[in-house]
Amino acid sequence: MKRVEAVIKPFKLEDVKDALAEIGIDGMTVSEVKGYGRQKGHSELYRGAEYVVDFLPKIKMEMVISDDMVEQVTSTIVEAARTGKIGDGKIFVSDIEKIIRIRTGETDNEAI
């Protein structure tokens, strides 16, 4: 079992979600986050005073999938979220030790 975390541009959320739904991913957790990487921030100007905004808004989506889906999921996200411009984001894949579905008590792959 793997956890896939993808930090993407906010306006790409719908595209990525739809693309993932097509390959059978039917659950995820999404949060609005802020951060910066190579894109850095932008500046705002009020009465001649320039303020640099360091942290840019991003969307972080998380999903837990079975090992055999990793390749397909990551390539789908890359395809749907890519604009080719700086700031497209990153994907992190990590191991998951255990899953429990609270309602039924099912565990691991059955609970995905």
Binding site: E44, L45, Y46, R47, G48, V52, V53
Partner: protein
């Protein structure tokens, strides 16, 4: 106003006694007074409220509202008497509006209406000054300051310019309050900002305006009210009032253009906060000249006013280390000085006297500017120290400053999401 002023200075009682009430003038001045009223608790409140940080919006609005309420009270109690009572250095004899009845006239309008009209000017003057002090001055200190300032600073300066004072009247042309209101308030704000010291965050972290939307709306309401301020200063519904109305509108528009143009050249951005500030700068610049400048003059006065306002807040301000939070000095003081000087230079044919001498008029303007700066600086400082002593210190403590005054002082928030 010049014509009216000269008459007022020379023979006040006789002129008033001979005049009869004009229904047209009175109707216009009733409306003009209501227009100027709108400038403080709506126009300035939103303009300043939008520029301050989200944790201090209500406190900032409260200073305009409080200035208006307290200013109105002080004005009818003693302010009007000092400003427009009989006397040379200060006016007397009209405390509590004594002797003024509904039959008393000022020119061709009821004197009670003139009291109300001039009261709105006193209130906005001290509200303008609040822009320099926000985010750190104590609300109680400011309210006491506002009351004392109108009595000790605003009313005397008004008396010298408009109320019959002779010794300290240098023959300045100030139709609607370029030095009396704007320079006076700008200097007062700057002095208090200097005494209060800088905000903790000033120059260290980003201080971003709560809402440029409110800034735009506030500036538009100021613009709207300014028709009453300038065209109303004719105290009659006539051609000069119409001219003042038109040049006010032209100068405000050119202020927008002037500010945004320079901002574009320097930063490659046309900001809306800049455009709104430019409108106010253009309006400040035309104020003393509104009863004498023509449209050509208004174009230059407004354009330079807007550009100068931008240069003041974006460049010149950084050379001083004073945290004039919302730039009251730069937009009302610096641009007010420009307006006062420009008044002597750009005069329409209708207002040009045959024996007009620009050099001597410029000297008069500079003398009035100098007197206003010196008197306002010194007496504002004294008034502030008294207000501060009465209220147990003029500045909020560090924790309140960092949490914001809305929550801590007023127990409210500007926005509850």
């Amino acid at each position: 106003m010049k014509r009216y002023l000269l008459a007022l200075l020379a023979l006040p009682t006789i002129v008033f006694a001979e005049d009869t009430l004009s229904g047209g003038d009175t109707a216009w001045m009733l409306v003009a007074t209501a227009l100027v009223m709108l400038m403080t608790p709506a126009g300035l409140a939103l303009f300043y409220g939008g520029l301050t940080r989200s944790k201090n919006v209500l406190n900032t609005i409260g200073m305009s509202l409080g200035a208006y309420a307290v200013g109105t009270l002080v004005w009818v109690l003693v302010g009007y008497s000092i400003a427009f009572g009989d006397g040379d250095l200060i006016g007397t004899g009209k405390v509590l509006l004594s002797g003024i009845t509904s039959d008393s006239l000022t020119g061709t309008i009821p004197e009670l209406l003139f009291v109300a009209f001039q009261g709105t000017f006193a209130a906005i003057a001290v509200a303008i000054a609040s822009g320099s002090m926000i985010e750190r001055v104590k609300f109680s200190t400011y309210i006491v300051f506002a009351a004392l300032w109108i009595v000790a600073v605003y009313a005397p300066v008004t008396h010298w310019a408009w109320g019959g004072g002779e010794t300290l009247n240098f023959g300045e042309m100030d139709f609607a309050g370029g030095t009396v209101v704007h320079l006076n308030a700008g200097v007062a704000g700057f002095v208090v900002a200097m005494i209060l010291g800088r905000r903790k965050d000033y120059g260290k972290v980003a201080i971003k305006p709560f809402s440029p939307v409110l800034v735009s709306l506030g500036a538009a309401l100021l613009w709207f009210g300014w028709f009453g301020f300038n065209a109303g200063s004719e105290v009659a519904a006539d051609g000069v009032a119409a001219s003042a109305f038109l040049v006010t509108n032209v100068a405000a528009s050119l202020g927008v253009i002037g500010w945004i143009m320079v901002e574009w050249l320097v930063y490659k951005k046309a900001t809306i906060v800049g455009g709104a500030s430019g409108a106010v700068a253009g309006l400040v610049a035309i104020t003393p000249a509104s009863g004498s400048a023509g449209v050509e003059g208004a174009i230059i006065i407004g354009l330079v006013g807007g550009a100068l306002g931008f240069w003041g807040v974006a460049k010149l301000k950084n050379m001083f280390k004073v945290d004039d939070s919302l730039d009251a000095f730069w937009i009302h003081g610096l641009v007010g000085i420009w307006g006062s000087i420009a008044t002597a230079i750009f005069i329409a044919d209708y207002a040009m006297a045959d024996d007009y001498n620009m050099t001597s008029q410029l000297v008069s303007q500079l003398q009035a500017i100098g007197l206003t700066i010196v008197y306002s600086s010194i007496v504002t400082a004294i008034v502030y120290f008294i207000a501060s002593a009465v209220t147990g210190g003029g500045r909020v403590d560090e924790e309140i400053e960092s949490r914001g005054l809305d929550e801590t002082v007023h127990g409210e928030k500007a926005i509850n999401l």
